[in-house]
């Protein structure tokens, strides 16, 4: 049983999904989804413990050895991403129960939780597998479920948002598939470790180059890296807010994991960044992304849209860290993957609470928000400080690491631009905080006064995330050492 945890982690939610369809009952499917998520969380925790104490896990699915069978390969990097995905899923699921009741018709609830489970197991599968083609399969599983989840948003624009994401996501996935096809042609294997060993000796280096280019673009689409981010804003804005909170913390982060795995483990960083001038493509995109998207976020009036653009900007930080291609830069990038997931999910959850009570997230029309929803506002402010990168929050840990890493390489301009972009974060979060704390009620109707806080089942998971965030903000060593270990393994190849 214990050795089978890597497989069960995927299988349990994957088989729980159709069970939900059999029950066709809202509460029952929610319980099933939560139970399956909790199991995955437990499994991910055990696996991470094992990887950190004993060593890398190589699990043969069905007992078939690597070249013919599929192998699960787990090191510190993907073990921590597994923990992140299953953990955020659990926390947001608790939150989702009340939130979804307001946003999705009751008859569709069982489908909602089915899609949720499919999405989560797909994401976990992408992360855990050591087989290139298997990555594509799980990518499709999670993407199809995601399109479904987004289209359940109560706004009709959710349908077009989901459709656009479907087109872009499919293009991205097929680019990845084409890339994997070229790799197969060049090396004759789909196992990641074998591919990485055979690439240097392959006779068709051109095919490898083309494969690299396709995979690069495909992953950039899925990870919403500027300028291929355009699908993200609408999708995050119109999806049910619990879905947004879940995706913001997991989906793009998993795509970034794929990027790390391919560029560092499979192609090797000397190849990606030495011969291929990858930072000629990634770094300008990352920098333009975090500057322009922070700027766009400043002018947004809908909180969900503002946070969506801010997500693209924050992904820019991560990619900038990765394209430094140094131990310090990679550590900073990975730590920001974890930290930003915590912060952004919490922020979207706070916005969800506001939508739950107020009915919209349009900043200029808030009235007396702090008096009515003090706990939600405090949560938003704390998480917002984390996004800005104020000391004692997780944002500070990763921003500090990132600036230090870029100075290590002597890239002063990048460091300066990161600081400029964080000033913009002060502005866009500050605008919201100002409205929350100081905007007086203009209608001044007596019945508005009196507290109408979001239900406890939404507040509690949100505060859990915030407490976790504060813990890792104060005890930054825990995440930094984890990320440092992962970076070391990535730079060492398989």
């Amino acid at each position: 049983m214990y050795e089978q945890l890597p497989a069960l982690m995927i299988l349990v939610p994957f088989t729980a999904a159709p069970v939900c369809v059999v029950f066709r009952h809202a509460l029952a499917s929610w319980v099933i989804a939560l139970a399956a998520s909790l199991f995955s969380l437990f499994a991910a925790w055990q696996v991470l413990e094992h990887v950190r104490t004993v060593g890398i896990i190589r699990y043969k699915v069905g007992g078939w050895a690597a070249p013919s069978g599929i192998e699960y390969y787990i090191d510190t990097l993907n073990a921590s991403v597994l923990l992140l995905v299953s953990g955020i899923s659990c926390i947001v699921l608790v939150y989702a129960y009340r939130s979804v009741i307001k946003q999705v018709p009751l008859a569709k609830h069982y489908l909602f939780y089915t899609a949720w489970l499919m999405c989560m197991s797909g994401l976990l599968g992408i992360v855990i597998t050591g087989d290139a083609f298997n990555v594509f399969v799980f990518l499709e599983v999670s993407s199809l479920a995601t399109y479904m989840l987004i289209s359940m948003g109560s706004d009709r624009r959710a349908l077009t948002a989901s459709f656009r994401y479907l087109i872009m996501g499919s293009v991205g996935a097929s680019f990845i598939l084409i890339g994997i096809g070229f790799l197969y042609a060049a090396t004759g294997t789909l196992n990641m470790i074998d591919i990485s060993e055979r690439i240097p000796n392959s006779e068709s280096q051109r095919a490898v180059l083309v494969a690299f280019s396709f995979i690069c673009i495909g992953v950039m689409i899925k990870a919403a890296i500027f300028p291929l981010h355009a699908w993200l804003a609408n999708a995050y804005t119109y999806a049910p807010v619990a879905v947004t909170a879940f995706l913001a913390g997991t989906a793009t982060k998993v795509s970034l994991y794929v990027l790390l795995r391919f560029f560092f483990s499979i192609f090797g960083y000397e190849y990606s960044f030495g011969q291929l001038l990858l930072n000629g493509v990634l770094l300008p995109a990352a920098v333009a992304g975090f500057i322009l998207m922070s700027l766009v976020a400043v002018y947004q009036t809908d909180l969900r849209r503002m946070l969506a653009y801010s997500s693209v900007a924050q992904l820019g930080y991560i990619v900038a860290g990765i394209s430094l291609a140094s131990q310090a830069g990679l550590t900073a990038g990975i730590v920001h993957i974890l930290n930003h997931a915590l912060v952004k999910s919490a922020l979207f959850m706070a916005v969800g609470c506001i939508i739950y009570q107020v009915g919209h997230a349009h900043r200029p029309s808030f009235d007396d928000l702090f008096k009515r929803m003090p706990f939600t506002c405090i949560a938003f402010i704390i998480a917002g400080l984390g996004l800005i990168g104020v000391p004692l929050t997780v944002g500070f840990i990763s921003k500090f690491a990132l600036i230090e890493a870029s100075m290590d390489r002597g890239w002063w301009l990048i460091a300066a631009l990161i600081l400029v972009s964080s000033l913009m974060a002060v502005v866009y979060i500050g605008r919201v905080v100002e409205v929350m704390l100081f905007r007086q009620s203009r209608t001044s109707t007596p019945e508005v006064s009196g507290m109408s806080e979001a239900p406890l089942s939404m507040l509690a998971p949100m505060y859990l995330l915030i407490v976790i965030g504060l813990y890792f903000g104060i005890n930054g060593d825990a995440t930094l050492s984890l990320a440092g270990e992962a970076a070391e393994q990535l730079l060492g190849g398989f």
Binding site: V210, V296, V298, Y299, Y309, P391, L419, E434, D477
Partner: protein, 563 residues
């Protein structure tokens, strides 16, 4: 655990506590915290305490020596007095912000390394802006935002500077830095912004008069003096500071003379007083640094006192404009007396606190051969007398009767002002009490014949001229009167050029401000065009254009990789 019990953290816990307490208890916490923390500060032995290892850096939260001690003591006193003055405030935002702000300032003073300093540096910025926002007007909001951006910019420069410095030297200790590298220059600029160096000073006059009545009293005490402390710690003896300081003492005089809003006059005079301290840091001898510390100590007291009395008037009448006030001595005698004590102190009358501290700096500049600087400081002292010493009390409490008959200030404000006034006089009469606290051993006698004589000549001549003009009716009405009394002061030095000079300075200032504003506005609207909702960047893209970008990027990657 003892780290969490260090005085700065006590303030933060108290701030958290205030979030849940009832209003009356919050006011008590506001009073009790400074006393508790001052008591704890005095129990610390000299040396480094509360050292924590974080991310491989050794952070020192409590570096106790005589320099940090004197600043933390006066900060605690200021926190107590402003808490007493704000007894009537029921707004939790202000009370929490005050505690967090005072705690951060004290934390900054005790920081033994640059990272800790940065943490508290940002803390003061974030906490203090709420004192401005708490006025809850649209104008206060935008002022607060401007203030916050400048303060955070200072923090960002400090962070950048400390990283560069760390790369250079491998040390984050906050000792003497000196202007030796890019890193130390960045840190210097960061300190300079908070210390309101010339051309970086506008946030001060912009923000302080915009805060709430009690908020201004709190603001005037901490941010700039923390920057003076940081300069004294890191850049003592840096010669450029002498000239920066000299300019700082002179230029606000012009603006203070022509300003009608009394709180803004005080903000300008705050800038001018900082100049004296910066000169002291620049000279950097033991005597000069003693002077800086002593002047900071006295300055916090009398500047709070002046802000308190003008605030009390504003609390009762709703305005702080010179042209709308006058004749209030009839109904607010206590406030009037306190204001006069503050005015006498800031003008450095013998037997008041300003005299015993300013003498140290003047002596240090003369004895080290900076005669021009000494002269500049003397001129500046006369300017102080004119705009703070005479203008503030005269136009508030005397001058022509405005017809306003407000009640005397509330009892808690009176008590706060009286305590502060008594402290000002006690320090002036028994300077030995203050000198015992100074960072270096000192054997100094401020009351020598020539000190007193020079100062009294200056003061009495200016006063006589003022009285003469009033008697003969040559002194014009309030609105224009401000120009005349600067005339009195400068009549001997630059008799005819002054009005022109003032006019040209004002014109140049407003012109450059207009140009800068239009440039800023242009850049702002350009940014807005790029990024506002509905622009190309911020709208949902059609599938076709998304695909176009994909193809374009694919081509770019292939070209880069295959060529």
């Amino acid at each position: 655990m003892s780290t969490l019990l260090a005085p700065p953290f006590i303030y933060l816990f108290a701030a958290l506590l205030c979030a849940v307490l009832a209003p009356r208890w919050r006011a008590l916490v506001l009073l009790g915290t400074p006393i508790l923390s001052l008591g704890m500060i005095l129990t610390y032995a000299m040396g480094n305490h509360a050292v924590v290892e974080v991310l491989g850096f050794e952070l020192t939260f409590m570096r106790v020596d005589k320099l940090s001690l004197i600043f933390s003591i006066i900060f605690s006193i200021a926190a107590f007095l402003s808490g007493l003055y704000a007894w009537h405030v029921r707004d939790p935002v202000q009370q929490i912000a005050t505690l967090a702000y005072a705690g951060s300032a004290i934390g900054g003073v005790f920081a033994g390394d640059l990272i800790t300093l940065f943490l508290w540096w940002e803390g003061t910025a974030l906490a203090s802006v709420f004192l401005i926002w708490a006025r809850r007007t649209p104008a206060a909001y935008s002022t607060g935002m401007r203030y916050l951006i400048i303060q955070v910019l200072s923090g960002v420069l400090l962070l950048a500077g400390l990283l560069v410095h760390y790369q250079d030297t491998g040390s984050i200790e906050f000792g003497h830095l000196g202007l030796v590298s890019v890193g130390t220059w960045l840190i210097f600029l960061s300190f300079g912004i908070k210390c309101a160096f010339p051309l970086m000073h506008n946030w001060l006059q912009d923000a302080y008069p915009a805060a709430t009545i009690t908020g201004t009293v709190v603001l005037s005490a901490f941010t700039t003096k923390m920057a003076v402390y940081a300069l004294a710690r890191g850049y003592a003896g840096t010669e450029i500071l002498i000239y920066i300081g000299a300019v700082m003492t002179l230029f606000p005089i012009f603006f203070a003379e022509i300003e009608n809003d009394l709180r803004r006059v005080l903000a300008y005079s705050l800038n001018n007083q900082l100049g004296f301290m910066v000169v002291g840091v620049g000279i950097g001898t033991e005597l000069a640094l003693n002077g800086t510390a002593a002047h900071a100590f006295c300055h916090i007291l009398y500047k709070s006192l002046l802000f308190m009395s003008v605030g009390a008037v504003m609390y009762r009448t709703g305005t702080s404009k010179a042209s709308e006030l006058g004749g209030l001595y009839k109904t607010m005698p206590v406030t009037m007396v306190c204001c006069l004590v503050g005015a006498a102190s800031i003008s450095a009358f013998p037997l008041f606190s300003g005299f015993v501290s300013k003498s140290l700096i003047l002596d240090a500049s003369a004895s080290n051969g900076y005669y021009l600087v000494w002269l500049a400081l003397l001129i500046a002292s006369a300017g102080v007398l004119s705009h703070s010493g005479i203008k503030i009390p005269y136009f508030t409490f005397f001058a022509h009767d405005s017809g306003k008959r407000p009640a005397e200030a509330p009892i808690h404000m009176r008590i706060a002002m009286i305590i502060t006034a008594i402290l000002c006089v006690v320090i002036g009469v028994f300077p030995g009490l203050l000198y015992a606290l100074l960072p270096y051993e000192i054997d100094y006698q401020p009351y020598t014949v020539d000190h007193v004589l020079v100062q009294m000549q200056l003061l009495i001549f200016a006063l006589l001229a003022f009285l003469f003009l009033m008697k003969t009716g040559l002194h014009p009405h309030e609105v224009r009167a401000t120009n005349i009394d600067s005339d009195v002061v400068y009549r001997k030095a630059i008799p005819s050029v002054l009005p022109l000079l003032v006019a040209s300075v004002v014109a140049a200032n407003s012109k450059s401000r207009r140009i800068a504003l239009s440039l800023l506005g242009g850049a702002g609207s350009m940014l807005e065009r790029i990024a506002k909702p509905g622009s190309a960047l911020a709208r949902g893209w059609s599938v076709a254009s998304m695909m176009f970008v994909v193809v374009l990027l694919m081509c770019a990657v292939l070209v880069v990789n295959l060529l």
